[in-house]
Symmetry: C2
Subunit: 157 residues, 2 copies
């Protein structure tokens, strides 16, 4: 009984969020060896959830872990995909991280910077829950859409 | 006799080009150990000149040499500095290179992409002469200035 109800409750988070669906697609696209093929969407996104305690245990001294770099790229690519779906405009994504975990994440279309965020302590990238991950992704999608609305000429440029 | 005329002829290239001067500044700013301190400007820029024959000898198979990556970054930062001087607008620069020598170089101000270029075979970055280096730099500065003129609102954004 419990086994049938639990999956329903957990899948609903991803099912309800277009952003999380786009993010799952991004991660699965990187799964060249099919490791995640049988995994549920929540499990695929599990590494995007990092608790406050876990964050404090991650050192910001060294290089950013390649897996973390890829997660950051997936996050911003998912935002770009959502903006593309809404506007039909092709978005490009670039992330640039220094070895100290500082850097930029950039999404643009035409001549318009749709999104530009400075990154800090990228080693600790993650959100407290899938719900907060979804909320932040959607917030950034909205802000990108507003920029396109505000500067339509540059977006066409 | 010859020694007094030769330096005059060579310095004039950098002296005449605001872009090359900005580029020299960028390279010298990276010279943390003062190796270039006594070098003439032309010598500081010498590695930006790569002949066609030399290019064909550089393999595009492996990673981009960190020194070449830094030269590419200096090149686009010099462009950004020249645009800043003309317009008073703070420009940001990001270069993003894959290990295969492909990638992006981006200059932006406010919400405007002042310059966005795809990079290919970055391992072979260089120009046939200082004159061609100056011409290409100035061409990109001009195209950036035109974009700012065309989209003043986004540049303010």
């Amino acid at each position: 009984m419990t086994t049938t109800t639990t999956p329903e409750t957990t899948t609903s988070i991803v099912d309800e969020s277009a952003f999380l669906q786009a993010l799952v697609q991004q991660v699965r696209a990187q799964d060249h060896y099919g490791v995640y093929r049988s995994w549920k969407d929540e499990l695929v996104l599990a590494n995007f959830v990092v608790s406050k305690e876990k964050k404090s245990q991650i050192s910001v001294e060294g290089d950013v872990d390649p897996a973390t770099q890829l997660r950051i790229l997936c996050f911003y690519r998912a935002i770009a995909v959502c903006i593309e779906k809404e506007t039909g405009k092709l978005c490009q994504v670039v992330t640039d991280l220094s070895h100290e975990g500082f850097g930029w994440a950039i999404v643009w279309t035409g001549r318009l910077m749709v999104l530009s965020r400075t990154l800090r302590d990228a080693q600790r990238f993650g959100y407290p829950s899938l719900k907060k991950l979804a909320a932040q992704g959607e917030r950034l999608v909205d802000s990108g859409l507003k920029n396109i609305e505000k500067f339509p000429d540059a977006a066409e440029g």
